[in-house]
C-alpha cells in the first residue's frame, strides 16, 4: 500500500507543483503528510502541508460579524456627522465672522476708552529735566484757574460796588410774585365765572323752549 501510495502521492505531488490538483486531492495530500509514521523520503514535505492545514483551520473569532457590523455603523454615523458639519458650514462661517467682529469691536471699545494711554515717545529720560516742563504745564493750568477765579471775584466786587439795595429788590420781587399770583388767580376766577354764566344762560334758554 505504501508503494502504491508512493506512486500515487508522487503523481499528486507532481500535479500539486503544477497547480493542477483539485481540492479533494489537496486534502488527500494533507491527510497523507499528517501521518506520524511518514517515510523518510516524504519527511521534507510534511511541514509544508502541516502549515497549510493549520492555516486552513484558522477561522473567524466569535462575535466577529457583530463587531464588524458595529464598526460599519459607527463609520456610517461618522459620515452623518460630517454631512451635518457640511450643512452648517455657511452658518459656521457667519458665526466665526460675527465672533471676529464682536472681538474687534470690544478691542476698539477698550482702546478708545483707554485713550489716556501714553501712545507717544517720552521726551525725557531724566525726571529732573521733565519736572520743569511738567510744572510749567501745571503752572499754566493753575494760572488759568486762578484767572477765572479772580474774574469771578471781580464780577462779584463790581456788583457789590453798584450799591444795590438787595432787600428792596427782594421785596420788589416778592411783591411782583404776589401780584402775578393774584392776577393769575383773578383770571382763573373770571374764566370760571364766565363758564358758570354760559351754563346758566343755556339752561334758561332750554327752560323757555320747554
Amino acid at each position: 500500500m505504501a508503494a502504491k501510495n508512493d506512486g500515487y502521492i508522487d503523481i499528486l505531488l507532481e500535479r500539486y507543483w503544477s497547480c493542477e490538483t483539485t481540492l479533494s486531492e489537496e486534502q488527500e495530500l494533507r491527510d497523507f503528510f499528517s501521518q506520524s509514521n511518514l517515510p523518510a523520503a516524504w519527511q521534507p514535505y510534511a511541514p509544508l502541508f502541516a502549515y497549510t492545514r493549520e492555516e486552513q483551520s484558522v477561522s473567524l473569532s466569535e462575535g466577529f460579524d457583530e463587531r464588524l457590523k458595529k464598526a460599519m455603523e459607527k463609520e456610517k454615523a461618522g459620515n452623518k456627522e460630517y454631512i451635518t458639519i457640511r450643512i452648517f458650514a455657511p452658518l459656521l462661517r457667519v458665526a466665526a465672522s460675527l465672533l471676529l467682529i464682536v472681538g474687534l469691536g470690544i478691542s476698539i471699545f477698550f482702546i478708545t476708552r483707554q485713550n489716556n494711554n501714553p501712545w507717544f515717545v517720552e521726551t525725557y529720560d531724566d525726571p529732573n529735566a521733565a519736572i520743569k516742563d511738567a510744572t510749567y504745564a501745571l503752572e499754566k493750568l493753575s494760572h488759568a484757574l486762578q484767572t477765572t477765579e479772580e474774574a469771578s471775584l471781580e464780577t462779584i466786587r463790581v456788583i457789590d460796588d453798584l450799591d444795590i439795595d438787595w432787600s428792596a429788590l427782594d421785596s420788589l420781587m416778592a411783591e411782583d410774585e404776589e401780584l402775578t399770583a393774584d392776577s393769575l388767580a383773578a383770571t382763573a376766577q373770571e374764566k370760571k365765572d364766565t363758564l358758570h354764566i354760559g351754563t346758566f344762560i343755556s339752561n334758561n334758554k332750554k327752560e323757555k323752549e320747554i
Partner: protein, 171 residues
C-alpha cells in the same frame, strides 16, 4: 469677509488715531515745516519718578495721580496766533465730548480750558493759551485732576528748588 476685515482695520486705525489724543491729532493735522512747534511728552512712568523726586507733598500727589502731560508750544508770535485758532477749531470740530470749562479773553492773553470727564480716576483736559507775548501753549493733562490742588500749585511751584531756572516760560 475680506471687505469686512478691511472695514474693521480702517475702524481700528481711526479709533487708535483718535485714542492718541488732541496733541497727536493737532500735530498730524496742522503742523507745518515752516511753522516749527516744540513738543514735550511726559508719561506715567516719568510722572511717578518725578513724584518720587519732589519734596512738596501737594506736587507729589498731583504727579502721582496724573497719567500724562503733553505740551505743544511755539514762541513765534505769528505762528502762535495761527496755531491758537487752529487748536480751538480742532477741539470744537473733533472733540465734541469735551466741555469748555474755562475761557478767559483778556486784552493781552487768551486761555481756554476744555475737559472730558471719564470715570472718577480718568479725566482729560486740554488747555489752549496765548500769553501776553503771543506765545502758544497747548497742554493736555490726563489722569485724576484735582482742581483745588491745581489752583493752589502756582505758589508751590515757584518755591520748588528744581524750578528756579529754565522754565519754558523763561527761555
Amino acid at each position: 469677509m475680506r471687505k469686512t476685515m478691511l472695514v474693521l482695520i480702517i475702524l481700528l486705525t481711526s479709533a487708535s488715531l483718535s485714542a492718541n489724543g488732541f496733541v497727536t491729532q493737532f500735530i498730524h493735522k496742522y503742523s507745518e515745516e515752516g511753522r516749527p512747534l516744540n513738543n514735550v511728552n511726559i508719561g506715567k512712568t516719568m510722572l511717578d519718578k518725578m513724584a518720587a523726586n519732589t519734596e512738596d507733598e501737594e506736587l507729589k500727589n498731583a504727579f502721582k495721580e496724573l497719567k500724562s502731560i503733553r505740551i505743544i508750544s511755539s514762541e513765534n508770535a505769528k505762528d502762535s496766533r495761527y496755531y491758537f485758532e487752529k487748536a480751538n477749531d480742532l477741539v470744537k470740530e473733533e472733540f465734541g465730548d469735551y466741555e469748555e470749562m474755562v475761557s478767559v479773553n483778556e486784552r493781552n492773553s487768551r486761555i481756554s480750558v476744555w475737559m472730558k470727564r471719564g470715570d472718577k480716576n480718568v479725566q482729560e483736559l486740554i488747555l489752549i493759551s496765548l500769553d501776553e507775548e503771543n506765545h502758544l501753549s497747548i497742554i493736555t493733562v490726563s489722569g485724576k485732576i484735582d482742581f483745588k490742588t491745581f489752583s493752589k500749585l502756582s505758589g508751590t511751584l515757584k518755591n520748588e528748588p528744581a524750578l528756579t531756572e529754565d522754565l519754558p516760560e523763561n527761555k
